[in-house]
Structures are given as C-alpha cells and as structure tokens.
C-alpha cells in the first residue's frame, strides 16, 4: 500500500491561511502545533497526514475527514490507530512531496513519476492502477506526482 501527497507551496500560500484562528487546532495535535514555525513545517505535517490517509482510505474504502486521528510519531513516521506508517518527504522551496508506506522496506521498491501523461487505469472504486498494481497520484497547483512500484 502506497500513499502520496504533493503540495505546491506557492498555491498553498495563496489558497490557505493557516494563521487563521482555530485553523491549526482543527487539524494538528498540540504536539504537532509545537513543531510549526513556518509554511514549510505546516505543509510538511499536512502532506504526511494526507499521504497516510490515502493508504487508510484505500484499505478501508471509507471517507473520514479526521486529520487529528493521524498523528506525528517521529520525523519518519506517523500513527493511526496505534499502527505506524512510514514516510519520506522531498522538501524544496517550491513544493513538498511526501510518500507513505506501511513498511520502510517498501521505499526502495518505489519510483516517482512526474510525467502526467503516463497512462493508468482505475479500479471499480475509481482508484488508480497500473498493471493491476495500485499506484498513488497527487496533484496541487503546478505539480503532479505518481508513486508506483518499480517495474522489474
């Protein structure tokens, strides 16, 4: 299972005002709020929660808008219902891209594709697939990213 989330920091700066009263407390625990200092820290936390949510959503096929249920555990992992989900992020001044997996051994088996013309299928739930393998797609602002298993 793979989840990914890409955030265009310029788009986020225009679309979202995280300094709005009560905004952070709706989506981040007190511990997570203590890690926040700037845009990058906000959107890194958010991208990790979104990437982990995509794994859970795909496994359960349930919609839940519950960002407080996915919590920071370490710079490399987040927790949901006491289970650890592992993340890796690419942080630049322009975007943040986070990949989540259920076991860290999976990371070397994955590749990122940023070419949005890559053909893919959809399963019966509308979720993206390539060669019967689930892939994860995220897009925001100027960016688009797919994470998939490397083809041998």
């Amino acid at each position: 299972m793979i989840g990914n989330d890409i955030i265009d920091l310029r788009t986020a700066a225009v679309e979202s005002n995280w300094r709005r009263p009560n905004y952070l407390s709706k989506i981040f625990t007190p511990k997570e709020q203590s890690l926040i200092s700037d845009d990058q820290s906000v959107w890194w936390l958010w991208s990790a929660k979104e990437a982990v949510y995509k794994i859970i959503n795909r496994a359960t096929l349930q919609r839940r808008y519950a960002p407080l249920s996915i919590t920071y555990h370490s710079p490399d992992s987040f927790l949901y219902q006491e289970r650890e989900y592992f993340i890796k992020s690419e942080l630049t001044n322009e975007f943040i891209h986070t990949i989540a997996v259920i076991h860290p051994d999976l990371f070397p088996q994955l590749e990122v594709c940023k070419d949005r013309s890559i053909p893919y299928d959809k399963d019966e739930h509308g979720l993206p697939m390539i060669a019967n393998q689930p892939v994860s797609i995220s897009h925001h602002g100027r960016y688009w990213a797919m994470v998939k298993q490397k083809t041998i």
Partner: protein
C-alpha cells in the same frame, strides 16, 4: 430553516474554495465537497470554520469526520442548531 435556504447559505460559504464552477452552480444535497466541488482538503478546514462562525456552533471531531458532503453538513448544522 428550510433545506433550500440552508443549501444556498452553504453555497455562499464554499464558493471561495470550490474549483468546479459547474458543480457549484448545481450544488445540491448529494454534492461532495472534495470529489464534486474539488475543494482542496486543506480548505475543508476553512469551510468548517466558516460554518462554525456563521451559525455560531462548534463542530467537534466526530462531526468533522463526516463533513465531506452537503448532506452531512446540513445534518450537522441542523442538529447543532436544534
């Protein structure tokens, strides 16, 4: 409050965040905030905060979990105002 009024008020709330103009124009009970209106998940927080401010209610985590479509939003607002 009747349903049409509530949907019209919700339409005003979601308008700044909705990216699908056609879906916004046709907003109804079955409209999904993310899948239909293409509201960014980070902006769904703004929708929730705007609803809290407009109706002077508090949307707890349990209610927030369900707030992914117009129908759920209407049910939550109605139950909090009751």
């Amino acid at each position: 409050m009747d349903k049409e009024t509530l949907i019209a008020e919700l339409k005003t709330i979601v308008k700044p965040y909705a990216k699908d103009e056609a879906a916004l124009a046709n907003i109804n009970e079955n409209t999904d905030f993310i899948n239909d209106l293409k509201i960014n998940s980070a902006n769904l927080v703004d929708v929730i905060l705007d609803v809290e401010e407009k109706y002077n209610i508090v949307i707890d985590n349990e209610s927030m979990e369900k707030m992914v479509n117009v129908k759920a939003a209407m049910e939550i607002i109605e139950s909090k105002l009751a």
